[in-house]
Amino acid sequence: SQTIHQWPATLVQPVGSPLSLECTVEGTSNPNLYWYRQAAGRGLQLLFYSVGIGQISSEVPQNLSASRPQDRQFILSSKKLLLSDSGFYLCAWSRGNTNTEAFFGQGTRLTVV
């Protein structure tokens, strides 16, 4: 069966510090991978998605970047965090070459102080 791991679960970082959130998927190959951000009580905003290694599409210009160094690994990064980067970040995967449902990780609550 397929599983998705996302860590850390919570993170408190000072303004100006770097960020690295990691997500890995097991039990499938060539998945589509996604990073979403969710503000409190709101819907999900797609930040990045990837259909293959090294292929990253950005949906929203911002202070963040994403990378996919391996087929089942997706990393969200920032060189210098802003207060506005605080939020709940969700990684997700879906089966490549078909548009089926997305399966989500448990999320990371990021607080920038």
Partner: protein, 114 residues
């Protein structure tokens, strides 16, 4: 661009009763997928039900069913025999077949009263 609209920020239902959550969408695609996700207080996103746009038959999963009106671009979720564990934020989502993205609505917070 795709859009998904959930016009009910909050809904409440009595335990064992039935509730319907509304969702409308807009897309230029002729083939797409629609989903309802549930997000309990743990914030884990859980798939409730999915509907392929090319299928006329409404999807059903136990107590959950949808009313898919393709011409009206409407996709409502009906929860029958509501249980306390159904209390959560519910999100409607639209997936395009020509790409790889899901577009989410703003969500409906469902409260189940005992």
């Amino acid at each position: 661009a795709q859009t998904v609209t959930q016009s009910q920020p909050e809904m409440s239902v009595q335990e064992a009763e039935t509730v319907t959550l509304s969702c409308t969408y807009d897309t230029s695609e002729s083939d797409y997928y629609l989903f309802w996700y549930k997000q309990p207080p743990s914030r884990q996103m859980i798939l409730v039900i999915r509907q392929e746009a090319y299928k006329q038959q409404n999807a059903t999963e136990n107590r959950f069913s949808v009313n898919f009106q393709k011409a009206a671009k409407s996709f409502s979720l009906k929860i029958s025999d509501s249980q306390l564990g159904d209390a959560a934020m519910y999100f409607c989502a639209l997936g395009e077949t020509s790409g790889s993205r899901l577009t989410f609505g703003e969500g409906t917070q469902l409260t189940v009263n005992p």
